[in-house]
Symmetry: C2
C-alpha cells in the first residue's frame, strides 16, 4: 500500500483530487445490474507554436503547458536555443499557444514543406529521425536494485492507473527515487508532459531513468533519446524497431519488468546486477490490476 | 486451444507464417541469461492520396493497401462516391498511393487549410467530428451469447497477440462468427485495415460487430461509427468521451469483456441477455497472457 514515505519522494505525483480527470459514467453489467463507474476523461487540446497550428492531442487535460512545450521539443520543433517567451492555455477554447522570441526555423521549414507536399505529419516524422543522429547518450551505469525499487514504489503509488484504468503512466526517476509521475490516455502525452516539465525547470537528463507502463515502440524510444535520458524501462513489451533504435543511440532498454523478472534489450553492459532477483517480491495482485489500460 | 473448426470460420485470420511480421531479438534476463525473443515488427508506411502526402503510419506491414484505403476513408478523406482507380504499394520506398478518378474535395480543403493554418492534423481531427453528425447507426439487437462465443473463439485463435505480444487485434464479426482478424502495433491501424477490406469487398456494416483488444477511446468509437458498424466490444477499458460519443451516435458499446464479465456503456436496451453468465467459463490463463501489449 502507498505510504506517505513513498509519496514524499515525488516532486509531482498523480493528484487524484484534481477535478476533471475522471467522470462518473453509468454502466450495466452482465447480470443487468447498474453501476456508476469512474472513467478517465479525454479531451482535445490544440497546440500552437506562435501563430502556427501544429496538432490536436487527445489528453486527460492536466498540465497543458508542459504537454505543449514537451510535444514541440520532442518533435524537434523547438531548438535548444529557442527563447520561449510565454505559454498561454485557454481552457474554454481548448488551445495552448507556445510563443518564442523569434519565429523558429521549424515554422519556415513547415511552411516550405506544406507548400510542396501539403501535410506536415510525414514531415514531423522525418524530422524526428533526423534529429536522432545527433543524439549522444551518456553511458550511465544502472543498478538493478534501483530498477526493482522504482517498480515497487511506482506500482504502489496511488494513481489514475490503479484507480480508474484505461490510462498510461510515465515516471521520471533518479537512481531509486521516482520524481515526476505523469499520466495520460496516450503514453506519448505522458512523456511529453515530463519533457515539458524538464525544459521548464531546466532539469538535466543525463542521470535520469524513465519508467513507463506502456509499450516500448519506436516513438517512445525516440522521445526518450531526444530528451537525453539514457535509460528507459517498462512493464510492457517492445517492438523490434524500438529495440534497434535504442541500440543505435546507446539507450539502455529494459522491458517486461514485472516482479523479479525483466529483459534487457539494449545496454546490458551498463547494468550492474547488484540485487538478487530471488529476493525480489513478485507483484501483488493490486499492481497488476486494470489490464483495461491496453 | 485453437482448432481447425475455429479457424475455418475466418475469411482472414492472423497469418503467423507470413514473413516480416516479427523478428528475433536478443535479450538478457534478470539472471544474466541470454535468450532469443520473437518481437513484433514496426515500420513506417507513408500514405499518399493521389499526389498528396497524407501521413506516415507505424505499422507491422501487412495489408498496406487495406490500411491506406481504410485510413483515408475513416478520416473522411474518401467520400462514399470516390472512384478509387488504383492502389499501389512500394515495399522499398515504404509508400502506398491511393488514386482516385478525380481529385477529391478533401485535397482542395486540405490545400486551403494548410495555406491558412499550416498543418493538416488539426483539420483532419475537426473533419472527423464533422462527419460524425451525419452517422445514423441501425438499432441492431445483440445477443450476449454472440459476444461470449466471439470472445472465446478470438481468445483461442493463434495470433501475434498470443505469440509475440505488444500488439493489438481487432476482429470484424457477424453474430457469433469472427470474419476478419487484423493485428497491428497501433489499434487504429488494425481498425483501418478492416475498414479498407470492407470497402474493397463492398461488405455491409449494418449487421456487423467489431471486437478489439484495445481501449475504447474517442478515436476507436469514431472510427467504428464512421464505418457504420453498430456494435463495438473490447476486453479493455474506455474513456468518458468514448462513451459519450457512442451514446450520441447510437453505438452499442461493451467494455471490460473478460470471461463472464462485461459492462455495457451504451445501448443496453439493444442487448438480448440470452446467455446465463453463470454458465460462461472464466478466461484461461493463456488468453490473458502478454500483458506486454499495453
Amino acid at each position: 500500500m502507498a505510504t506517505q514515505d513513498n509519496l514524499s519522494e515525488y516532486l509531482i505525483a498523480p493528484d487524484l483530487s484534481r477535478r476533471g480527470l475522471s467522470r462518473a459514467v453509468d454502466g450495466i453489467d452482465q447480470d443487468g445490474k447498474k453501476s456508476v463507474l469512474s472513467v478517465v476523461e479525454e479531451r482535445p487540446l490544440t497546440i500552437f507554436l506562435n501563430a502556427q497550428e501544429i496538432v490536436t492531442a487527445m489528453t486527460i487535460g492536466d498540465y497543458p503547458e508542459y504537454l505543449a512545450l514537451g510535444f514541440l521539443r520532442n518533435q524537434g520543433m523547438l531548438p535548444d536555443d529557442a527563447d520561449v517567451t510565454g505559454i498561454s492555455y485557454d481552457e474554454e477554447l481548448e488551445t495552448v499557444v507556445v510563443r518564442t522570441a523569434t519565429q523558429t526555423s521549424f515554422e519556415d521549414k513547415l511552411k516550405k514543406k506544406t507548400r510542396t507536399s501539403g501535410c506536415a505529419v510525414g514531415t514531423v516524422f522525418g524530422d524526428m529521425m533526423e534529429g536522432l543522429e545527433e543524439v549522444h547518450l551518456p553511458a550511465s551505469p544502472v543498478k538493478t536494485s534501483w530498477l526493482y525499487a522504482l517498480a515497487a514504489k511506482i506500482n504502489r503509488t496511488p494513481s489514475l492507473y490503479l484507480d480508474v484504468g484505461a490510462i498510461h503512466g510515465t515516471v521520471l526517476c533518479r537512481e531509486d527515487r521516482p520524481l515526476v509521475y505523469m499520466e495520460d490516455v496516450g503514453r506519448h502525452n505522458a512523456v511529453d508532459k515530463i519533457a515539458g516539465w524538464m525544459l521548464s525547470e531546466q532539469i538535466s537528463a543525463a542521470d535520469k531513468i524513465l519508467y513507463t507502463t506502456g509499450r516500448l515502440t519506436s516513438e517512445m524510444v525516440i522521445k526518450t533519446a531526444m530528451m537525453g535520458i539514457p535509460v528507459l524501462a517498462s512493464r510492457s513489451g517492445f517492438t523490434a524497431w524500438g529495440v534497434e533504435i535504442a541500440q543505435q543511440v546507446g539507450l539502455t532498454l529494459i522491458g517486461r519488468m514485472r516482479g523479479k523478472r525483466f529483459v534487457c534489450l539494449s545496454g546490458d553492459e551498463r547494468l550492474l546486477r547488484d540485487a538478487d532477483p530471488a529476493l525480489v517480491d513478485e507483484e501483488s495482485q493490486r499492481s497488476r490490476r486494470k489490464g483495461g489500460r491496453a
